[in-house]
């Protein structure tokens, strides 16, 4: 069978009995068996759970027909969870050897919400260990490869989630975005990826990286799919006190798109920049007002981020003592050690003011930059990263070089605003291109509306890599 590439096609097929949910699972597991030895997007495949949930879905469709899809909006949708999301009774590793045999006693809220919406879990996906990385190469279970070109990285840290979609091994996937970890892999794998507003989605049961920056996001092949997933996962659960109940911004009839000049700088890949300028031109032609704006502090976001994030990492990872669960601290690999040490250093006596306090003040100024710009425009459009996907091994020996891949994504995390990665074609060599839309807090609906406008204007068709 041909596996459909969107939620809508999947559910139409199920309704029309073109295939059953069990047959869908057969198809995805076949693709995983065929290609994942090479791509390495899954750490654990949960075949038994998948078939049990698929049988339940088929039963519901048989008993209730189309009504089943009203009660379970994501019925029959296969999902792969980044291995940072706790799954009751199913090993959860965070991509780290330290947790190689950890089996959680409870599930993350997002995992439960998706299950309650009718999703079928296919497995747990590979990621940079503890979500530390921009390429997927920091996983203790080996790097994930980019399905569009296996010599290249899929982007990190939600590397396996993105690669699994690009390789047609799942329909949707979850991810987390602390500095770039949904948007970068989405962009490198030609997918739509959402980093929501900080506090829009509960993080209960998601292994913490940097608590003032962590957000739970998701991947799909179309804006519609991502919007549907977001609708299912957003909102509070009484278990994460950073979740805010807010009023969602409604998209305006006439929108103003800002081009922040600091995101179009020397050193940005020419092919990538050209594709984004072409996208902006499409917006202009479709009645969106375009305005150049300035976010002068952009350049400093990466330094502020790589002080604040490691500081919070060193604190969050201090709980791994090997006593209650997990292996001993000597099983941390290099990148975790670097970040723990960097964080411990910037928080230590004598350096706190110079690094951590300074970074938190720069963060305030970065937020003010965004607030000012969002008085002039509704949404910002920018590259996700300065380059298309880079080669495996290209940056792994030089941590600073790797950190700089996040230069255009970390500002949104520092400010707590949402960012949506949108695919916009391929390079001549067949590497994925994409841009991101950023808006004020709780403006997700506006981002979705603008991204859909682009899909429609370009007659976008979701694709998967031919493996």
């Amino acid at each position: 069978m041909d596996i459909p590439l969107t939620i809508k096609e999947t559910q139409v097929g199920l309704k029309k009995k073109k295939f059953s949910a069990v047959e869908l699972v057969d198809g995805y597991l076949k693709n995983i068996a065929k290609s994942d030895k090479d791509i390495n997007s899954f750490v654990t495949v949960t075949e038994e759970v998948a078939y049990a949930q698929a049988k339940k879905a088929d039963r519901l469709i048989l008993d209730y027909g189309d009504k089943a899809f009203e009660d379970y909006p994501l019925l029959g949708v296969t999902v792969a969870h980044k291995d940072l999301f706790l799954t009751k009774g199913i090993r959860t590793t965070a991509g780290a050897k330290l947790l190689e045999s950890y089996v959680p006693a409870y599930s993350a809220t997002v995992v439960e919400k998706l299950e309650n919406a009718g999703c079928i879990m296919l497995g747990k996906t590979n990621c940079d260990a503890w979500a530390h990385g921009s390429s997927g190469e920091n996983s203790d279970f080996g790097p994930t490869k980019n399905p569009w070109n296996k010599k290249y990285v899929p982007g990190g840290s939600s590397s396996g989630s993105a690669a699994a979609l690009a390789a047609n091994m799942t329909l949707i996937a979850t991810g987390t975005d602390t500095g770039s970890s949904v948007r970068l892999p989405a962009s490198f794998c030609n997918l739509v990826g959402l980093k929501p507003t900080y506090g829009a989605v509960s993080r209960y049961g998601v292994i913490a990286m940097a608590s003032s920056l962590d957000t739970v996001g998701c991947f799909g092949r179309t804006v519609d799919d991502v919007e549907n997933i977001f609708t299912a996962i957003r909102g509070g659960d009484g278990k994460d006190s950073t979740v805010k109940t807010a009023e969602w911004q409604k998209p305006k009839a006439k929108m103003k798109l800002g081009i922040p000049k600091e995101y179009f700088i020397k050193g940005t890949d020419q092919e990538l920049e050209k594709s984004i300028l072409a996208a902006i031109e499409i917006y202009r032609k479709n009645g969106v007002l375009i305005k150049e704006v300035s976010l002068p502090l952009t350049k400093y976001a990466i330094s502020a981020y790589y002080i604040i994030a490691p500081a919070e990492i060193s604190s969050n990872l201090s709980r791994y003592d090997g006593i209650r669960y997990g292996n001993l601290r000597n099983s941390f690999a290099d990148e975790a050690k670097r970040r723990i040490m960097l964080g411990t250093y910037v928080l230590s006596s004598g350096y706190y003011d110079a690094y951590y306090l300074k970074a938190m003040k720069v963060r305030s100024k970065i937020i003010q930059n965004f607030e000012k710009v969002f008085q002039e425009v509704d949404v910002l459009v920018a590259p996700v990263s300065p380059t298309p996907p880079f080669k495996l091994g290209e940056k792994i020996q030089d941590p600073l070089k790797m950190y700089l891949a996040d230069i255009f994504t970390v500002p949104a995390n520092l400010a707590g605003i949402p960012g949506l990665a949108v695919p916009c074609g391929f390079t001549d060599k067949g590497l994925s291109l994409g841009f991101q839309l950023m808006g004020p807090r709780f403006s997700e609906n506006t981002l979705f509306a603008l991204a859909k406008l682009f899909e429609k204007a370009t007659n976008y068709k979701p694709k998967v890599a031919n493996l």
């Binding site: 950890y102 003032s212 006190s241 790589y306 201090s318 300074k358 938190m360 003040k361 100024k365 707590g416």
Partner: protein, 102 residues
């Protein structure tokens, strides 16, 4: 360069309960010094009139009623399920204090 000394690396590793080898000390000294050097760019930003930001929700003092929620509680068995080192329903931990004859 070499802003971080080997002593500082060792000190920070000890604070973070990480055991690192001397080869690692050399490697991390080089890599982390380079990262710290990069941070110097923040000196260019005037933050004299700024308050620090530690979170972006604007939420303050999130309370809930003081009641027992059994749904969020793990049983003793579940709590202990992550390790083999248990005794009489407790975790076994290494001794912190050494036994010295006085």
């Amino acid at each position: 360069m070499a802003k971080l000394t080997k002593t500082e690396i060792a000190h920070v590793a000890r604070l973070a309960k990480l055991k690192i080898t001397s080869a690692e000390t050399d490697k991390f000294q080089k890599q982390l010094s380079k990262v710290l050097d990069y941070f110097n760019e923040l000196d260019e930003v005037d933050t004299s009139d700024q308050e620090p930001t530690s979170q972006t929700t604007g939420l303050k003092n999130v309370f809930r009623t003081d009641e027992i929620r059994t749904s969020g509680c793990l049983s003793q068995e579940e709590t202990l399920s992550g390790t083999d080192r248990t005794k009489n329903g407790y975790f076994v931990v290494d001794a912190v204090l050494e036994n010295k004859d006085l």
